[in-house]
Symmetry: C2
Subunit: 362 residues, 2 copies
Amino acid sequence: MKLQVTQANLSKALGTVARVANSRNPLAILSNVLLKTEKNRLSISATNLDIGITHLVGSKVEKEGSITVPARLMQDFVSSLPDSVLNLELTDNKLHITTDQYESSINGILADDFPVMPAIKEGVTWKIPAAEFKKALSQVVFAASADDARPVLNGVYFNSVGSQAVAAATDSYRLAENKIGKSGKAVNFLVPASAAQDLLRIIADNDKEVIVTHDDQQVLFTVGDVSLVARLIEGNYPDYRKLIPSKFSTVAKLARADLINIAKVSSLFARESAGSITIKADKNTGVSINAIASQLGENTAKAEAKITGGGEITLNSRYLIEALSAFSSEDIDFCFNGKLEPIILRSSGEPNYLHLIMPLRS
Amino acid sequence: MKLQVTQANLSKALGTVARVANSRNPLAILSNVLLKTEKNRLSISATNLDIGITHLVGSKVEKEGSITVPARLMQDFVSSLPDSVLNLELTDNKLHITTDQYESSINGILADDFPVMPAIKEGVTWKIPAAEFKKALSQVVFAASADDARPVLNGVYFNSVGSQAVAAATDSYRLAENKIGKSGKAVNFLVPASAAQDLLRIIADNDKEVIVTHDDQQVLFTVGDVSLVARLIEGNYPDYRKLIPSKFSTVAKLARADLINIAKVSSLFARESAGSITIKADKNTGVSINAIASQLGENTAKAEAKITGGGEITLNSRYLIEALSAFSSEDIDFCFNGKLEPIILRSSGEPNYLHLIMPLRS
């Protein structure tokens, strides 16, 4: 292998893929990145066996070849170099990287040993506008569970309502659902939330579309020169739609920034009570949040709101703050029924997005 | 106690003092801040028994009084409030804080129990221009030891050469020394590096002078409305001046940014060897740094330099990078003698500052 590549391109590609490589994995080669010439391009890949990411960059290839090198060293090294043309040459499993100022050699492991994720041979393919998809997915993915007890809840559930693709995630305490564009055919698969997070990082602001290809086992997302393949989570996703109330006895319309502010201040007094805050909607006085810390003190905070109905409900302040922060519109509707039923956050400015939070017993 | 204070002033004062309060201290009151009216001002204090910080802010005092409240909650709470006038009122050891939107009550502990550091009765007092002092002290303090084995090395040593005050710090592997202004009288005392770090945070860009007062036990730094008192470290500071070479067989003059860059890149290859890098000065080829990682590979990096003499020396890359980063001038002199003698970094643009690093055995 002998080639030339710009520092900027190689550094960007290493930044995309290297975080998937894991230096703590007992299989040493999984802490490496694979460099491989593909005609007049250089392919840079990393995998943790569940997710694989490949970034192709333009390169002046003099001699084809491939090698794997330690991901962290390679990324830190290349990102520290000044922006210039780098000469890469392989001799005896040592990758030599030279510029005017620097001469390095990095010890590699043969590319033959690098585990490559199987290709998707017969899959369904559809395209989604990139910016819209990125925003919609980012509003959903954080609601997935971080707890391994129920693996299906560690995923983002891609499914469809008619020709409309929908993404949903829940940790059983809160649920987020968003429309993510037209899939054409009906889809139904479960992507690990960690892969969805990696995908969000990959989609750049100037990317036009995301191409989705999946079969029963894997999904491939292609964005420009980057592709991410992930092993799907097996299992049946809960029938979450039956949880979503369609009517509400109380709806409070208010400025989202106001509700975030009073929720944040209240959460400071809710540290002793596992985040428990009580939200009250009153036609005359607006929305107020009360939090009581038996040791430290208590706090009541108010915000103006337009209210139909009235009542109070107790929530985990973290879930409320995270949900409110996921919206981008100025106004928010805070909707609920009795004390034991889930609340819904929605905004007329973001009609595709819905966020549900289960109440705490007060 | 009943008073009014602006959110901005109270939040700033809490930001200055609250970090000294320690919520892990078994003495509960040390995790509190003391609020106390002083004529038409509010004094906000915290202490960890070694350091005490007090910030005075303007306030409309209706009724005098004092109380201590949990520092972290108070700081987080006040900083979350919108900028407005806060009403503070004490009833039954509960501090009520109210605005248009918020009503809080925070449980306090009686101010009588708060440990106040003793006043300095007969001390030496001198003044230093604030900006100059801040820069000089920041170039020194990071060289102090973080290891408790030799307490004197945890301090910044204030001493004088004639009427010139000097600050020095060393962890026995490196040493930094800087002139910090005229003290008038001879001074000789040892300030905990942690207190010096706190002092650096307190000095704002628009502060004019720092007033230093000390006796045998304590030092008081006063900067505008803020005062910091610290218990001095007892013990004799090593006679460090005899370590500083006055003649060098090799001096390399080069751009500081170039030397930082090649040191940083080289340090990536020095992770396996506890940071060991070898710097070579050669009249014909300039300065080069070589680092070898037996497992990962090796690297040689070059920079242009004007060299008298020539030779090589092995250093810890972290010490070299930290020292170079402490300078602000464009050019640096890298000066050394044999392989076993300390190197000196100095710059004609910062004639008061000197940084010494002990070599590693190569």
